[in-house]
Symmetry: D2
Subunit: 430 residues, 4 copies
């Protein structure tokens, strides 16, 4: 009776024989080529490949298309959703000052729900009954993608070959050779990368040992090391409307274009490299090296502007909202309704986040040096407020008396007990 412990699971994972047509998320890399062959072999189904363009730095969608057809895909689709990625996903991250555990602006977790959505839409249009992806069984991305698929289209099955097969690196290469898959990249490259317009993630090799210093020269794909960056500062001016970047250095452009223009500049100045030990969804720690040049600049700028136009109460509470937003985003909860509620808060708070921010880029630093906004609470009215004739020099003492009253009372009560006396004997100030 115990013999097949998980046998009766009605899993969302496809089993061979269940799938007629499958949409395979296909980057064109070695793994995705192997997957294509492997699925054909084990599931004996028709395969439509889908290459999703989120403005990657590194990959070439049309090369991928060619490979897919050559390896037996019945069709090879390319979805160019880079603008949508900026306008519907990255923008939310900017407004939320998205930052997971210190300096990671969530490029990968932001991309996954969009990739999943496009895959689902494609599957529905193509009449496919499954979606296949190359996530391993150890990481966060499977949670983000599988979770999104189950949410958006619970009838679709998922094939995750890497999670399923038991091949090590050697076996994969063997498998590739046997199945006529060209291996044109250096096989023993030590790092793995994921990237889109919002950032690049690197993992593997010494990065995985938190006690070792990562070798930036070998790891970084687009960002200069500070040592090699120019020693002359450059100022980037970003203009925001309601929390959204709308112009760079005085020129109006789309958010996608702002990011695309800002990335190489910030990267040249070595801005936006983060070495992060992070908590995965499963509770396991991993270290990654992130390059998020434009993201770093835009979020610093946004944060400074938002602070300028918000009250102290708002600024304290927003940091809590932002933290929760980032944990949910990283944590594969894009479609969790709490996310919508947080976004409603964030949109409202951003209604007044309009203005201009100057960020100084230099040798790995990005410092906000000037900010202005029509909604600024730091306005000339305050100058008047600070002038000679006004009120607060005298209002201060009564304010202080009431503002610190409860701590006075608490302190007095505690010490009265300690000394065996009554509170009234110690009393409060005056």
């Amino acid at each position: 009776m115990k013999a097949k412990p998980y046998h009766r699971i009605t899993s969302y994972e496809a089993e061979p024989g269940q799938v007629k047509k499958c949409v395979l998320l296909f980057s064109g890399g070695l793994d995705s080529c192997i997957m294509l062959k492997w699925i054909k072999e084990h599931y004996e189904c028709e395969i439509v490949t889908l290459t999703v363009n989120l403005g990657q730095f590194l990959e070439d969608a049309h090369e991928a298309k060619k490979k897919a057809l050559m390896l037996g895909a019945s069709s090879a689709l390319v979805a160019d959703v880079a603008e949508e990625f900026a306008d519907e996903y990255v923008v939310r991250c900017i407004k939320a000052n998205g930052d997971y555990q210190g300096g990671y602006h969530l490029s990968t977790p932001l991309g996954r729900p969009l990739i999943a959505k496009v895959a689902v839409e494609t599957a529905l249009k193509e009449g496919a009954d499954a979606i296949a992806h190359g996530c391993t069984g150890k990481g966060n991305d499977q949670v983000r993608i599988d979770g999104a698929i189950m949410t958006l289209a619970p009838h679709l099955k998922v094939i995750a070959p890497v999670r399923e097969w038991s091949m090590g690196r050697e076996e994969e290469i063997e498998y590739a050779k046997e199945h006529g898959i060209e291996i044109n990249r250096t096989v023993d490259k030590p790092y793995s990368h994921d990237d889109n317009i919002w950032g690049i993630t690197s993992e593997g090799a010494e990065i995985e040992d938190p006690g070792k210093v990562p070798c930036f020269e070998k790891i970084l794909k687009v960002t200069n090391s500070p040592e090699n960056a120019p020693n002359d500062a450059e100022i980037a001016e970003i203009e925001f409307e309601k929390g959204v970047p709308v112009a760079l250095n005085g020129e109006k452009m789309s958010l996608y274009d702002i990011i695309a223009c800002l990335n190489p500049v910030a990267a040249m100045h070595a801005v936006g490299v983060t070495v992060l030990i992070e908590d995965r969804i499963f509770g396991v720690k991993v270290r990654g090296v992130y390059e998020n040049p434009a993201a770093t600049v835009l979020i610093k700028a946004h944060k400074a502007l938002e602070k300028l136009v918000s009250t102290r109460d708002e600024n304290e509470f927003k940091s809590l909202i932002d933290t929760k937003w980032s944990y949910l985003c990283y944590g594969a909860k894009w479609y969790e309704p709490l996310m919508e509620n947080l976004n409603a808060f964030i949109d409202k708070a951003n209604e007044k986040v309009s203005g201009k921010v100057k960020v100084k880029l230099l040798k790995g630093t990005a410092g906000v040096v000037a900010v202005e906004s029509p909604y600024s609470i730091f306005s000339e009215a305050l100058a008047t407020f600070n002038a000679e004739e006004e009120f607060n020099q005298n209002a201060a003492a009564p304010f202080i008396q009431l503002y610190t009253l409860s701590q006075q009372l608490a302190y007095a009560a505690k010490h009265a007990v300690m000394e065996g006396s009554d509170l009234d004997e110690k009393a409060v100030a005056n």
Copy 2:
């Protein structure tokens, strides 16, 4: 009846005639010299000056002492509490990753409660009935000092001459000249500074206009600008025990010494300069330039180590605790009982924050590049966990199914309503 609206206030502010002996917090600067004379003139009381050493970069306690006696103080005391400052105040800030609104490690707000405590102790010992300080009526420091005095010794009165007199800069200088006070500093220096071992605050001139770029060359007191910093990185290794720095580059020393050694090194590398628009307690915004070289390095290091040994749940919640701690510390609530409760949480969380952290200093950047701890959750057990033969590749799918279940249900319910169907028709994944 309305004639004297605040007449009947039993204020904690002293009135002339009420004070026999006063402890004056005395830095030796022009303002404090004027205060000494002014209090003597208006309050006709004995004055004991108290110069509190918190490891200032800039001031000279013994010079101050000489001046005080010369200007008529009955005695001139110096309290050297720099080690206590490190061990009882700064240490709390490190454990709490103290950071107010982005890059300010709270050097001034941390110092005030200690200064107030020493002043109260001095007043009690000297039999004084009032404490005088040079805070203006616009800032935070009066709240911190007056609040602490009212809490610790409610019977003491406070004299805050700058809040009380109505002299502008010109009049002050006139007053100084008339009263034989030497004016050896350049009078038209545009910036004002406050400093201790934990950092330097600069305010005034163009710093007060958030739309203007601050002129670092003129403002910075100890920190290099990135442009002039060496282009060769330096690694600082900090060792922690239970959240407290105990060694620098392998050498055991007191926290005070670690900070004192680290400050010039980090400052040379241009590390720890922050331009911050912050919310004052009164709800008014102000911009300051902060130099906190050692503070920046130590808190980055602490944060990275703490993250390594803490769970995801801990890391998310700690950020909320830390934010509240920083708002309270800045907000003059050092003696608020909530602070004690937060500290108890923080101490417990720090019991396992032991280990070593390498921070790379270069051109204004301070990046944590390696971390190790016996309490690390990122241990070799995880390597095993990540190996071929273990479990999670297969545990993943069932986990994902349950982990995302409620968002699936919520999504299905919402769309069922939108489409007029029943939830059961849409159903959830399998």
Copy 3:
């Protein structure tokens, strides 16, 4: 120089001679009659009285009008904003499950910003230059009203006679007699009350001593004591749309009418009496007795329905949002921008709070006994989910393994250190 310490304050408080025409918030009670005479005497200005109807249980606006004219008001206005109060203020409280420190649904703090707004509008229309109110200098209401006036119309002055004059109860009565003010209420009534459609506040006498049991028989104005309430339960069914009550016992009506109908029923069943020791804005504690019969029923019902349609993540976070909302509302921060941001979150979260709730009223208890909603996540899909053949019985173990993984790792690491061994020797489960 110290002689007039607060002399140079440009206060928002009016001084005699500054005011030509004043809008006096006027309830018709003894205090407001005395104020009318006192302001005329001391400020020698024209007075327009304004009686604001928020659906009070106890007072009579038209009686007030008559009195005001008799005592010399140049005109006596009545603003009937009870429906607006329900639709714009109370409704926000319901959606936020408004509850300050345990069982107080914020009737008074909700009313103040509306009263202030109406007073400001009246002042602008009438060309008045000041608003007068009867708040004391000890309580919260002055903060709420003065704060709102300064925010909405900073040019208006405020007259707060009770804060200004120095009359005790005896003197007030003397003053009333001298100025021909009829004293038709028992003068030695021990309690003071504030009320509107959303609840009644009682203070004074033994209520102010937290060690004494309040005498409900004398205190309660509309609510039965449980002893005298019927021993037969009654079910109230409330229907909500997007978080707003829209029907009572199957009958569609306005929110105001629902509250008006529900109040006597719930009050008869002794529901909604709270004895609360609360923290005032000034940090002082006070005890009050609150009667909020309909409020208690509606908020319990709302909370139960909201929980039914929200995920676990939403429910946990909403409680934090709601707490902050209630602290801000009580804390005179109705116009604080954070409040708008919270309301945006709350509105979004309430979009799905539609359905019906049955509340059982009996002898002081109001228990939710049944809930239904088209957005319920607790749907028949779950019944299927719980059936024999489905998946989770087997998914459970893998889920548990990953869900508790980080606590396993943390525990193992800690004990490995304690025992001087390596983490790997202890290892984690399997």
Copy 4:
């Protein structure tokens, strides 16, 4: 290759053949009797039963022992840890005002980690290699127990027969009959119960349909319905020391005894019945009926006393800490390190929670009517504070001006933008 999807899992679940000796958590109920037989049959291992006494209302440990031996257990142990349960587990819940989602004081989730701990200790002492329990695969308890076992003793295996076998109720009874297990309870009892000294949980039948009114007459095990409760109120006085109940009605006793004495009194007065729709760990909702008579009284009393001695800042923040504590406790995270950190906060906050509380019990209501404490901030010093001659009547206005300053500025800035004017034209109050 896909054939045995979970085959390679190194699960913590035992497989037949792996277990030589097993500790079976044994209540003596039908299910536990069937488990005993079933494990013997399928795992062919020695079985030691363990009956854990947490002060259950309903069960008889010695009866259980007899049954276990009769059914073939090699030994039948009883662990009487009811006092430990009160002193180490319940006490934490009281200090944290433990309440999950509205009125559930966590009786079951509090008991599970202790039961798991005792089971692990027993297994180690007895040399067993597995622990067996009767949790289903749908609920929270398996997460709590399995998670605790994996944390405390990762080498132990778990047997969860109910999760593993596929018997429905009919088949279970059939199985019982075939194996000589006496069936002395009514088989078709509609509800299932779990209980300990801290409360009773009931589930099943109409309780599972949130749209149906639960039939209290049939469901409640110990608590009166309000209709039948006496119409005469009774006052219970509880004394606390540092947050812990130490005396009831003036008589010092252990916490266990206080609970044991208070339960029947509160239950007679119909206090502590909660109908709750709650979010399970898996994200599924379930409805339960809880009886927690003493728990309700003690936590209400604790909360009121804690509020009396804490500042406004403390009270607001504590509610957030308490909420997180309850979510973790319910969520099977007793051994999560965050729990320890929260407990450190809570212990510190409770150091001053000493004093006496009177709670009035009547017809299902439990209202705190009087509170006193030497640490009260609500002391006579405040009476003085409220007297005629003191300060705050005049301090109020300056306080209000500064306290509401940022909202004034924000409002002015926003409206200046809306009207196209400058902030300075609108300006702030005076």
